[in-house]
Amino acid sequence: MQVGAKRIKAASSIVALLFAGVALTASAAVTQAQSSNGLTPSPPGAEVYFINLKDGATIPEKVKIFFGLKNMGVAPAGSDLPNSGHHHLLIDTELPPLNRPIPNDFNHLHFGAGQTETELTLKPGPHTLQLLMGDKNHVPHSPPVMSARIHVMVVPKGGPTPSAPGAKVYFTELKDGAVVPPKFTVYFGLKNMGVAPAGSDRPNSGHHHLLIDTGLPPLDKPIPNDFNHLHFGAGQTQATITLKPGKHTLQLLFADKDHIPHNPPLFSKRITIQVADPSLRTPSPPGAKVYFVGLHDGSVVHQHVTLHFGLENMGVAPAGIAKPNTGHHHLLIDTTLPPLNQPIPNDFHHLHFGAGQTEATVTLPLGKHKLQLLLGDAKHIPHNPPVYSKPITVTVIKDEK
């Protein structure tokens, strides 16, 4: 009888072990089911987003970024709670492979302590930012919980005076790569703000500065005043400067009454120009001037119009004739000055009058057009110094019947 009892005890303890085993594997099966292919499932409707940043935003170098999370909870790395994860901030990089732990470097910032905000310092210029949740092992969920990749422009902070939204400062004529003579005129463009002399305290205004062969100065202090930083405190919108032959950089920077840049700062692209060696071209006499007779900036003309070319202190000669102090006319329509050390192009925007004409009847399309005169030597190359008129904008209206 005792042997039978022992057997029953043994059998029942085995059964107990059995149940324990099944229970263990059953619970293991439950957590395994949560990671149905090795990836942690994310709850439906989970969304991660930037609370205070939009695609295309302009931000300062030091910025606080807040991480939003909907329908999901934040938990520190390593914690194995369902429907949770921790933040990662991707900077200037594509989405990392979604089947592996997110890399840990300067482009992939981990917030494994469960942080929901951070202060970031970025270099000036364009950057991309994206939020991506990771599970306890820093592996993205399935489906991944990620924000859109947004583009931001980091602009260094300026001084105390605000600039108007949409304001721009730019070179109206000069383009990157332009070839110019040693003495040339730079025209300053300004959008959505006004020019006022230094010292004048009007809102939405400032005055121009031209930076030559130097980068941007500190944008929260007065701009230095030297040969590399030309101030136009009288409110000028153009300047004639003389530079040595060779490569130079130019940049426009707008500033307030105290010569401190605005916030956000207003500066043009930094362009590189080539100053051509003057000794290689036909000299023009001092005081030579070319201009439109009877036409000025803002004139209204008919579609069929006769333009008269005026020339002071020089004579007209047909192309091919190399008499000193002469040249022939070129009419530039809706274009900027061509490279001034090469023959002027010959196309619909650059009309040649190589037969020595001093007037032309042209048909212009309706609307506003830019006209400019440029003299060329016997070989159609601009003189040294070049002889050109200030560009004018005319409005072309229908012919009277």
Binding site: L17, L18, L95, N99, R100, P143, A148
Partner: protein
């Protein structure tokens, strides 16, 4: 004695059965980890329909859900990829399938 043996055998087989799925899931995780994310798997019409539906659900309109990768589907894929920082090739690669939540199409299950 016989009863004991039967019970033990039954227990062992139960335990064994319970642990089998765990082993195959480890193989699945390894397969996922070793996937080439820029590979473009062959998708049948039904799979493409699933991808098109996923794109449409996220407001990247692929045109009709017809299971054919035409220009409208490709354009939607490209827009989706660019929006989320995936190389915008217009090809439905594994990275894109993972992003859309259609992992099963990447692993071929």
């Amino acid at each position: 004695m016989k009863k004991l043996v039967i019970v033990t055998i039954a227990a062992a087989s139960l335990l064994g059965a319970a642990t089998l799925p765990a082993a195959s899931q480890d193989n699945q995780s390894a397969a996922i980890k070793n996937l080439n994310m820029s590979a473009v798997p062959d998708l049948n019409r039904d799979a493409v329909r699933k991808v098109q539906a996923a794109l449409g659900a996220k407001s990247f309109d692929p045109g009709p859900i017809d299971g054919i990768i035409g220009p409208r589907t490709r354009a939607a894929v490209r827009k989706y990829q660019d929006h989320f920082g995936i190389k915008a090739t217009g090809e439905i690669d594994n990275q894109t399938l993972f992003a859309l939540g259609t992992v099963q199409l990447a692993t071929g299950h």
